[in-house]
């Protein structure tokens, strides 16, 4: 504070730690400590993601035997979406492909470009997004259009005849 030209000249201003210097230092120091003690928890509170207390759930979405090989089908299911303090039951869909070796892939229903709903075109044998003409092959790879990465995939598990899906996995950007 010595650098602030004071309108009232200070009578004695000796070098070193004066009483005045000590006061000013303490005022700034305590002010900074309190600001940090409030500001750091506030940043943590606003920026850290909430603890996920819902264990990963597997949702049964249908009968795997009803699927024809290499013919993608849109399957609808309900899942619980955790949204802050709310858990809401929502309808969701997945595009499911049964491969010739009986393994199954389930794609998230949104185009990876801007989130439009895409669909399977039987004639062209490709997934087509109507918004900006992104095309995806049956294994989810981008074949044309602005989509930056392959289709998102759900974790899948087959339990007898039942097809179960887990979390949605977002793949890396396609080279």
């Amino acid at each position: 504070m010595e650098d602030v030209p004071s309108p009232i000249p200070i009578a004695s201003a000796p070098k070193g730690v004066t009483r005045r210097n000590f006061y000013v230092g303490a005022i700034y120091g305590i002010g900074a400590a309190i600001a940090a003690a409030l500001g750091i928890p506030a940043a943590v509170y606003l920026l850290f993601p909430p603890k996920i207390r819902q264990a990963d759930q597997w949702i049964e979405i249908g009968d795997v035997t009803s699927l024809a090989a290499d013919s993608p089908a849109e399957m609808t299911f309900r899942h619980n979406r955790v949204d802050g303090w709310k858990v809401s039951s929502e309808k969701a869909t997945a595009w499911v492909v049964k491969h010739s070796d009986n393994s199954v892939t389930a794609f998230g229903p949104q185009c990876t470009h801007l989130g439009c709903a895409y669909h399977w075109d039987d004639g062209k044998s490709e997934f087509i997004c109507p918004c900006h003409n992104s095309l995806f092959s049956i294994d989810g790879k981008v074949t044309a259009g602005p989509a930056p990465r392959p289709l998102d995939r759900y974790e899948t598990r087959i339990d007898g005849k039942k097809l179960l899906i887990g979390r949605l996995i977002v793949p890396e950007r396609q080279a």
């Binding site: 009483r19 003690a37 506030a42 943590v44 909430p50 603890k51 207390r53 264990a55 303090w85």
Partner: protein, 547 residues
Amino acid sequence: MRRRWDRARAWLDHRTGVDTAVRQFLYEEIPASSGWQQVFGSVAVFLFLVQAFTGALLAFNYAPTPGDAYNSLRYILTELTAGRLIRGLHHWGASMMIVVVVLHMVQVFLYGAYKKPREATWMVGVVLLLVTLAYGLTGYLLPWDNRAYWGTVVTTRIAGSAPIVGPYLTRLLGGGGSVGVVTFARFYGMHVLLLPPATILLIALHVFLVRKHGVAPAPGDEVLPRKKFFPAQVFKDTMAIFVAFAILYTLALVARVPLEQLADPTDTSYIPRPEWYFLFLFQTLKLFPGPLEVLGSVVLPGLAVLTLIVVPFLDRGRLVKVTKRTFAIAAVLLAAIGWGGLTAAAVATTPKTQEAAQIDYSTPTDWLQLTPPEMAGIAYFRQERCESCHVSGDGSSKIGPDLTQASIHKDAAWMIQHFKRPSAMRPGTAMPPIQLSDAQLNSLAAFLLKLTPANASALGNAPEFATAGALVYQAKQCGGCHMVNGNGAKIGPPLNGLAQRRSRSWVEEHFANPDALSPGSMMPPYSLSPKDMADLTSYLFSLPEPQ
């Protein structure tokens, strides 16, 4: 560097005048007698800022409607990092603000600082005290738990009993004596939209008046040279703020702010209690029975506020040294004794046992979903001190394996064999055999099979009464006829929701003689020790309502 900095400041000051304004504010002249006794006003302003800051943070994750309010507060407390700290600061900050505002008033009163020409400063101060209390009153409802709901029911009834204005107040507070969505919206609106700007304006007016008249001098100040506000007095204020903040922070970190169950307007057994600073009013009410009640609820508090406002006109004497103001000191002492006595009486008459056992909903309550065998398993887990060798998913390591790991969760039969003869199942293990019966080991295994890294600490929150109650429940084989959380038989009535159907005393009498209370009942009588009876009943009353 310094010259550049000075030039930048000069430029800014020339354009805005901010430097000059700050300097004028800081270099105010104050009487020579000023000192530590004058720090409380600054501390009150500081606490108001803390309340505004933490309040805004809470609002970022809070849904201001009944029901959602409770869920979002639980989300803040149990799922957000530092959420508990932020709420703790806001909760204890409110109490501290009342304390500091009252200390500030006591200081001003004792020093006679309200005297001519400072009457208006004092009166604005009294209004600020009322505003502070209004924050406490409206904020009390916002968690929407039982405490909040029933406390507010009483408050709104009192407001409604006021002579002449009662019916209008009732309508203003959102309804015909019931507390619901409208009342909630009004209280929330008051708390976050109306009161904060009012506080800011009143503080500005209050400080303006203090500056206009200057800090009140003490006798003898007229012959001494005046001091500057900065830095010596600012340093004292800052030190006081630091002490207040340290106390507040410690309280927020250490003292748990309870959250009771979601507000239940049908809960007839709940005994509402106001916040501690309103307890004296609550007790005053009891001194005026029947038709005189309005005296204690409205007339007396109203007169007290009025007296406080006109204090400067009642005491018009000249400035006197604080140590010679015997009458003022006596008045403060009398008020303190009266307040303390009424508060102590209210605390002393608070019934100890509540109908339903108190569950702290400010921590995760996953344990509420456990079946009786699993809950009894927690009791054996604690009794056998499993945690001295094992951890449950908190990342640290001890001699034994982490019990939340799926790899050690085999089937119950394997686990029971392992508990009995650890080395037979796992050669070379250091684990000693557990000396419990098969049924008890079965419970322990049931609990361990339920453990996951995500729920370990939440299950660890299970209170003593619940685990002890589950032990009694298992020992008496209640599950042979009754269903709890989907476990047991359906011969007798399911026990979830018992708290909504029966009173505690009914259940306790029913154990001793079922046939007398429900004729034709197949249930045999049970004679339980008082502790077993209390634990079992508390446990049954804590069960979640059926979905």
